[in-house]
């Protein structure tokens, strides 16, 4: 039987600099990717129709992509943005339009071609841009609120800022990965409302293990490495368990299996963010704490 035991890492072998550099490089690259994407496209990440506006319909009884293109090609006048097939054989078609007349034309064309519209969502561009504004605003408020709380809890600068930087990196790395995939043309994962929920959730989720680590190192008796190992045993279990739960949710609810909306979007970002969190907590946060404990406090 497989055993899940958190390994004890010999942190003595690495300097603080060696520990902090890789996560900072990953963060730097992520920020760079976000800037490049922003420079090229004017948005920080590929935005889905929740933010840009448009229409998404889910069709049953469609035989192929070609049949769909044919059905909506002539006379509908609405440009097809993408066609995706789900595991159950349905097709999800997105259009850039949200115009009433064109929507009705789409419905009529689907009916004429014998497709059954199972679901239909339309968002206006104005609604999308309000969503974008509110989502960004919400993320900033949540992040500032969380940071303030962390400073109140630990009341000293270095440990608090360590948590805040880790959390910031946890949020930026998934966006960086999404941008990397989009920029290299591998796969375009678009930001949805689920992504926003996941990023906010990440603010709450990812600081748990940081709080745990800080708490063990700063507020408990015992040597630094003893405390670290205890905190890691618990923290890694927590994070890995959450990652496994989220991988399960993402895979099962994905378009290839159950094809449920919202859940895979949330799951994917949480998986990426929590994985980044393992690195950030036990390399970046830890190195800052070690510096603070052995050198910072002594000053």
């Amino acid at each position: 039987m497989v055993e899940f035991e958190v390994p004890e890492i010999d942190y003595d072998r690495y300097s603080n600099r060696q520990l902090a550099t890789p996560p900072l490089i990953v963060l730097g690259v992520s920020l760079l990717l976000i800037s490049v994407y922003y420079f090229l496209n004017g948005t920080p990440a590929p935005l889905g129709f929740d933010f840009t506006g448009g229409t998404e319909i889910r069709l049953a009884d469609a035989s192929s992509r070609g049949a769909i293109r044919n059905a909506f090609g002539q006379g509908v006048g609405a440009e097809i943005e993408s066609i995706r097939q789900t595991g159950s054989g349905d097709y999800i078609v997105t259009f850039l339009t949200q115009n009433t007349g064109e929507l009705q034309a789409i419905r009529d064309a689907a009916g004429a071609a014998g497709f059954d519209i199972q679901a239909e969502t339309t968002r206006s561009p104005a609604f999308g841009s309000t969503n974008t504004q509110n989502a960004l605003f919400g993320l900033v408020i949540a992040f500032v609120g969380m940071s303030a709380l962390i400073f109140v809890l630990f009341r000293s600068f270095v440990p608090s800022i360590a948590v805040v930087i880790s959390a910031f990196s946890d949020i930026m790395i998934p966006i960086g990965i999404v941008n990397f995939l989009a920029l290299t043309g591998l796969i375009e994962i678009k930001m949805t409302l689920g992504t926003v929920a996941a990023l906010l959730m990440l603010i709450g989720y990812s600081v748990d293990s940081d709080i745990l680590l800080n708490n063990h190192i700063l507020r408990r008796r015992g040597s630094f490495y003893e405390s670290t190992y205890r905190a890691m045993r618990t923290g890694v279990t927590m994070t890995v368990t959450s990652i496994v739960a989220m991988i399960t949710m993402t895979v099962v609810s994905s378009e290839w299996i159950f094809a449920i909306d919202l859940l895979p979007d949330i799951g994917l970002i949480l998986v990426l963010g929590l994985t980044a969190d393992l690195m950030n907590t036990y390399m970046l946060n830890l190195s800052l704490l070690r510096w603070y404990k052995f050198e910072g406090v002594a000053r």
Partner: protein, 623 residues
């Protein structure tokens, strides 16, 4: 008693789990709602059994052939309601104040039942009945007592199907004005802005002025107010309507949806002045019509002189009408009988006389198209719905006479509004019964709206699939926990505590009548994740090496673990709270479930798990 006192946290958990069970399965719950489903009866599947249901027959109106019988006759089809209706006490099925819409067909009530009750566009069955069609296809919309199976849970659009529209209201408004002559200002503004008088609302008490015309810009409105003598800049003009108008829109829409027989529909407001309309089992184009039609019914007297120039006078508005009767057929035409109010009747009578409609060439002289009329000029009464003429007719001579001698307004004040189709007649009746919308929802290109529709059968699938997804995520967590602790005594209570959290949340949803959507399900799965995280913290802290020698050591470890859990919970609540205030799509539900879940965890389930662990590690005398 000592046992209970020592384990009061477990006891509290048990009590709350029992309470949740009662909320979920008990008779009170949030009160089971109703759900609607569309049933098509045709050749092969020509029967449906309904119990405690209301069903709606679509598309055309059928009247009672005779007030004393309860048989409703139409051509083409027969719908029999077969017996088996319990509690038959009376000999008649009651049809009161209702039109029943049937797509061609007969509704034959069983002869001896009072359990079938038709009111106002629908037929309700309190017992069990079977509907059967003969030789035709009929689409029925059947509203049943919520058949949520085992639980009192209610499901939202994502999981039960239907249409949701979220949109702002068309309008601009200015507040804090000191207004002199209210009606004078209103008519001046309407003239200045070149819009219908019903698009301007002035409230002198509240000091507000609103316009409800999507074609008027903020600067146009500001300059019209400036010409009316107000010191108003474009920046003082706010988009949207006052809260009073918004309440009016919400109530009218709710009434309209209820009256249309689209049961279970709800109209609420969200942040940013948006109105959210959710209607189960209805196509988006239908709901779009409901929220964008003003429902303004007016009768206009069109007088065309010999020179061909027409003068229009509004002689009856919705405000002049006291009530309506069921629509009916009059020869080729459909008509909606209405009764005018006393003042409305007086006004109608005097206006008709003033414009010379009731004498001379007025009666029996309607010719909208032109010069073919035998008499010079043309006098037409136009029935309009939302500004469109649905029918025009002349004034009958006898009617003209009674108006002219002033006796009509003292009589029954009955008036018939004629239309070509039953739909129009029904629309007019509905608009008059519910009242017109002061303004509509804004679904124009630049507006901030969204619309979603999920087919009911497909949404039903989501219910099971998302439950299964949650279950699989929980199993994955369970697997990890077993691998990590390898001790059933620690892992099993942990998993049960985690699932208890979800169970309590579902109980909360049932008792608060929260309609579950995918965002709530996502929140529930997130709660499993955070919940287990915190239980791992507890277990590791309390079970750490070195025995928990005494109750005091346990207490200290419990407190330490709780500090971390409390801090983590606080960060999650802070992170989620923006979503409860800002409107970001449908994420409100996600945030609410996560926040309530964290609170339930910190206050109830996680402390109880601490007690369970203590029982595991402390022997009797150490406590």
């Amino acid at each position: 008693m000592g046992v209970v006192r020592d384990n009061w946290r477990i006891a509290a958990l048990v009590v709350i789990v029992l309470a949740s069970t009662f909320a979920l399965f008990g008779p009170i719950g949030g009160g089971a709602g109703t759900q609607t489903e569309l049933v098509t009866l045709s050749d092969d599947e020509n029967t449906v059994t309904v119990s405690q249901s209301t069903f709606f027959l679509e598309n055309s109106t059928v009247e009672l052939t005779n007030d004393s019988t309860n048989e409703i006759v139409a051509t083409d089809a027969t719908i029999d309601i077969d017996g088996n209706v319990s509690n038959v006490t009376d000999t008649s099925a009651v049809v009161a104040n209702g039109t029943i819409d049937v797509t061609g067909g007969t509704v034959r009530s069983p002869a001896n039942t009072s359990a079938i009750n038709a009111t106002n566009g629908s037929i309700a069955v309190s017992g069990e009945a079977t509907l059967r069609t003969v030789n035709s296809s009929v689409e029925l919309s059947v509203e049943r007592q919520q058949d949520s199976g085992l639980t009192n849970l209610q499901y939202g659009l994502d999981l039960s199907g239907g249409t949701r529209i979220r949109a702002p209201i068309v309008g601009l408004h200015v507040t804090d004005l000191s207004i002199g002559d209210q009606s004078q200002l209103a008519s001046n503004l309407a003239a200045d802005l070149d819009t219908d008088g019903i698009n301007v609302q002035v409230r002198d008490g509240a000091g507000t002025v609103e316009v409800y015309d999507g074609g008027i810009t903020r600067s146009e409105f500001a300059s019209a107010l400036q010409s009316a003598g107000f010191d108003i800049q474009t920046s003082d003009v706010q988009t949207g309507v006052t809260s009073r108008t918004r309440d009016n829109v919400v109530n009218t829409l709710q009434g309209r949806i209820d009256q249309t027989g689209l049961s279970g529909g709800s109209v609420t407001t969200a942040g940013d002045g948006l109105v959210v309309v959710e209607v189960p089992n209805t196509r988006p184009e239908q709901v779009r019509e409901i929220v964008t039609d003003r429902g303004v019914v007016r009768v206009i007297a069109e007088v065309r002189g010999p020179d061909g120039n027409a003068t229009n006078t509004t002689v009856i508005t919705g405000d002049d009408i006291a009530g309506t009767d069921p629509i009916g057929k009059d020869g080729r035409l459909w008509r909606t009988p209405v009764t005018l109010t006393e003042s409305g009747a007086e006004k109608f009578q005097s206006r008709m006389n003033e414009i010379g409609f009731t004498t001379g060439n007025g009666p029996k002289n309607c010719d909208r198209d032109g010069p073919d009329s035998p008499l010079p000029g043309s006098y037409c009464l136009l029935t309009t719905l939302n500004g469109e003429v649905v029918y025009s007719n002349s004034l009958a001579r006898s009617f003209a006479t009674s108006l002219n001698d002033g006796t009509w307004a003292d009589g029954s004040r009955k008036f018939y509004m004629s239309t070509q189709t039953s739909e129009q007649a029904q629309d007019i009746k509905l608009s008059l019964d519910v009242g017109s919308l002061p303004t509509t929802l804004n679904l124009s290109q630049g507006a901030q709206y969204d619309l979603s529709y999920v087919q009911p059968s497909y949404a039903q699938d989501f219910k099971g699939l998302s439950l299964l997804t949650g279950l699989l995520a929980w199993l994955a967590v369970a697997g990890m926990i077993f691998l990590r602790y390898r001790e059933i005594r620690v892992a099993l209570p942990m998993l049960f505590t985690a699932i208890a959290e979800v169970y309590i949340l579902l109980g909360f949803a049932a008792i608060s009548g929260l309609a579950l959507d995918l965002s709530h399900i996502a929140g529930l799965i997130a709660v499993i994740g955070t919940g287990v995280d915190d239980l791992v913290i507890m277990a590791d802290e309390i079970l750490q090496e070195g025995d928990v020698a005494t109750g005091r050591v346990f207490q200290s470890r419990f407190r330490k673990a709780f500090w971390v859990i409390g801090a983590a919970a606080a960060t999650t609540i802070i992170a989620m709270s923006p979503l409860t205030i800002l409107s970001v799509g449908d994420l409100f539900g996600f945030a609410v479930i996560t926040i309530v879940g964290v609170l339930v965890g910190v206050l109830i389930t996680r402390p109880a798990y601490g007690d369970i662990l203590r029982n595991l590690v402390l022997s009797e005398d150490q406590r």
